[in-house]
């Protein structure tokens, strides 16, 4: 499916069939972001569908021919950040603490070529919510530390600390072999 100008017009005018086609077309990108941040299916659904509603209502601002998936990825990321910020105590989640800091891994993780998708999601879900968010934004979405700092209204040190914590934890999970890994 190619997102052409005709499709955009039909979606804008409320053509339900084409809108649902677009939903199916976009679902993979939206859902792959949602599962990395939310553990429960209902929460994932809320993120995906709210993001898609924003896509539909702002479809006129998309220029046909440009990268559609990048555009909707930006929207779903914004939705995730907004959702996180809805929690009025979200800043507390970023409090740095060494209590749960993981031990440095003793095994070089480079021996592993890749990790199974589901395993990766499971490992990420082990991380505390704030750490998971920062690590996802930094390592997977490609945000810079400064951008994360501005988006979440936290300090640069806090961002760095959470990235470091995430790496430690993920390494330790790999070392402990709690997650099935592919060689």
């Amino acid at each position: 499916m190619e997102v052409t100008e005709d499709i955009l017009k039909e979606v804008e005018s409320g053509n339900r069939k084409l809108t649902l086609d677009l939903y199916h077309y976009s679902f993979n990108v939206l859902m792959s972001s949602a599962v990395r941040y939310k553990n429960h299916k209902e929460d994932q659904m809320e993120i995906v569908n709210n993001a898609f509603m924003k896509i539909v209502t702002n479809i006129s601002s998309y220029k046909p021919g440009t990268a559609y998936f990048s555009w909707i990825k930006t929207i779903v990321q914004r939705e995730i950040i907004d959702d996180f910020r809805k929690n009025k105590r979200y800043k507390e989640l970023f409090k740095m603490s060494d209590s749960d800091s993981a031990q440095e891994s003793v095994v070089d993780p480079e021996v592993y070529e890749s990790i199974d998708n589901e395993a990766a999601v499971e490992m990420l879900n082990v991380l505390p919510p704030a750490t998971k968010l920062v690590f996802n934004l930094y390592a997977i979405e490609g945000y810079k530390s400064k951008e994360i700092m501005e988006e979440l209204n936290i300090s640069y040190e806090t961002v760095k600390w959470h990235i470091k914590q995430a790496r430690k934890k993920l390494k330790s999970l790999i070392v402990e072999n709690k997650i099935p890994l592919k060689l």
Binding site: M45, N49, K88, I115, A120, R167
Partner: protein, 545 residues
């Protein structure tokens, strides 16, 4: 080390890119519901968008509306004893066509006589519903009848007549005529000659004149003139002849050339103090009905304005307006925690300009208006006092008050102790949510005149278009933090107004208490629906176009 970190990041990045998902049914069901809501919203907006075109169409319709009120007014302008003519009187007989208009205004007896002569010659009928009197008879009674009219409001010719009457016991007509001072160069005749001619003309009047003397006094001297084309010619002949004999110059002023009517109306404040305007018609003169003329062709309204006239005016105004929100909850009222508001009435400036199109006593108005609505909110860290309870056991003492360490019986009683607990919230907002609007009002009103004042109750609709960011911050649900909502871009409102104005010729000043209320919501979310009421007192100035 750096490579190690990057490798971990890459592992997870690659894994995220390999994922594929199937759309669950529950997801589809939810997105369908959300799309249904969106469709309803679109339809709701689509239902009202055309209303915004109404003011524009009104202006266009007005601009293109054909003006059917083209009438020729023939004003017989007289100033004291003078009948002016832009043409030489010799040429009047031949040159005045039916389509021309002639205006005669009279201020003294001579003028009246000439009008009467004209009426006589052209079979002009002056109707009255109650009494029939000759104009001369009326003039004789004038002093009595118009006794209630202030001296200042009386026309010059009437004042002169009154003066004549006051002096009638001893004065000759010659002396009377001397009271009237000639004011124009065209007066080539002497006062004595004038009086003679006047008296002779009065005696020769043969026209039937019906003077309508209404309950409120004489509000109309002449209600109607019906004539035909030949009569008009005769009329002109008569005027010309009289003018000849009196060495009077007749001034004819043709105001409009495409008239279809010949009317006689009273001008200059409509009634006794009026001048006389004769309008000519080619087709309708003979057929005009007295009854119609009684009510339509001659203005007898206070203020001298015809009842079916149209007028246009523009206004500028401003005020301080107070607004407050009307909040309704959707679905989850028990969980709602956002009603902690202070100072709900917000005062802000509004200003605008308006255009009114008046016809008969009705008024249609539109314009542009800048307005703010909003409320103050206080979402701060809450301090909540709670009561803790403690259960204690009681012990019995023996009779000599020795402590008995063995529990004889246990009585549990609740002891309340008040402690303070701070509920820490991560976000707080103390401030004002303000929404800016450019509004196009569309009003309908009814005008009630009372002297120099006009009262206009109005009802109307407002088409409000949001400008700027128009975001509001609200706490909707417990433990869900603050949410920023954008106001709807278009909101429909209704308004009630009561304008009170003081008229000064073309200008007027006014105050206008009003109440305005949103019909469609400003903020609509899954939790709340928020509309605003506003009220205030507009004050401004207007000018008639």
């Amino acid at each position: 080390m750096i490579e190690d970190k990057d490798h971990i990041d890459d592992i997870f990045k690659e894994s995220s890119e390999q994922q594929s998902f199937k759309v669950p049914e529950s997801f589809l069901e939810d997105i369908n519901n959300k799309l249904d809501v969106l469709d309803k919203k679109k339809k709701r907006i689509g239902r009202f968008w055309w209303l915004a075109l109404i003011p524009v169409l009104m202006v266009i319709a007005y601009a293109l509306w054909p003006n059917n009120n083209q009438t020729k007014k023939i004003e017989l302008l007289t100033d004291n004893n003078t009948v002016k003519s832009s043409k030489q009187e010799e040429g009047l007989n031949d040159s005045i066509q039916l389509k021309e208009s002639l205006t005669i205004s009279s201020e003294d007896s001579l003028s009246q006589n000439m009008i009467k002569e004209s009426a006589s010659a052209s079979n002009i009928v002056v109707n009255s519903a109650e009494n029939s009197k000759t104009l001369s008879a009326f003039l004789q009674e004038g002093g009595k009848v118009i006794g209630d009219i202030s001296e200042q409001d009386k026309p010059l010719w009437l004042r002169e007549e009154l003066k004549k009457q006051e002096k009638s016991n001893g004065l000759t007509s010659k002396n009377e005529s001397e009271i009237v001072e000639p004011e124009t160069k065209e007066e080539a005749f002497t006062n004595s000659n004038l009086e003679k001619v006047t008296e002779s003309r009065i005696s020769n009047i043969s026209a039937t004149e019906n003077v309508q003397n209404k309950e409120e006094g004489i509000s109309t001297i002449v209600d109607d003139v019906s004539t035909n084309a030949d009569d008009v010619s005769n009329d002109v002949d008569g005027v010309s002849t009289n003018s000849d004999s009196e060495n009077t110059t007749i001034t004819e002023r043709i105001e409009e050339t495409n008239s279809s009517q010949i009317d006689t109306v009273l001008v200059r404040d409509e009634t006794i103090e009026s001048d006389t305007i004769v309008k000519g018609t080619e087709e309708n003169v003979a057929t005009r009905e007295n009854s119609k003329l009684n009510s339509d062709s001659i203005s007898t309204l206070p203020g001298g304005k015809n009842s079916n006239e149209r007028s246009h005016e523009i206004q500028v105004f401003g005020s301080l307006t107070g607004s407050y929100s009307k909040l309704s909850l959707a679905g989850v009222p028990d969980e709602f925690s956002m009603t902690q508001m202070e100072d709900p009435l917000q005062v802000s400036l509004q200003f605008g300009a308006g255009y009114n199109f008046n016809f008969n006593n009705y008024s249609l108005g539109t314009g542009l208006l800048y307005q703010k609505t909003g409320e103050a909110v206080n979402y701060e860290t809450n301090s909540i006092d709670v009561q803790d309870s403690v259960y204690v056991s009681g012990f019995y003492l023996d009779t000599i008050f020795n402590p008995n360490t063995q529990t004889w019986d246990t009585v549990e009683m609740v002891i309340y102790d008040t402690i303070g607990v701070d509920v820490i919230v991560g976000q707080s907002f103390i401030g004002k949510n303000r929404f800016n609007w450019i509004s196009i009002p569309l009003n309908f009103g009814y005008r009630m005149n009372l002297g120099n004042f006009t009262f206009i109750p109005r009802v109307g609709a407002g088409f409000d278009f949001g400008i700027g960011k128009n975001n509001g911050i609200y706490a909707e649900l417990i433990d869900q933090g603050l949410i920023e909502h954008q106001a709807n871009r278009f909101v429909l409102s209704y308004s009630l107004q009561f304008e009170i104005r003081r008229n000064f010729e073309r200008f007027h000043i006014f105050v206008n208490p009003y109440f305005k209320s949103n019909i469609t919501p400003v903020i609509s979310s899954q939790v709340q629906t928020r509309k605003y009421n506003s009220w205030g007192l507009n004050a401004g100035i207007g000018i008639s176009l």
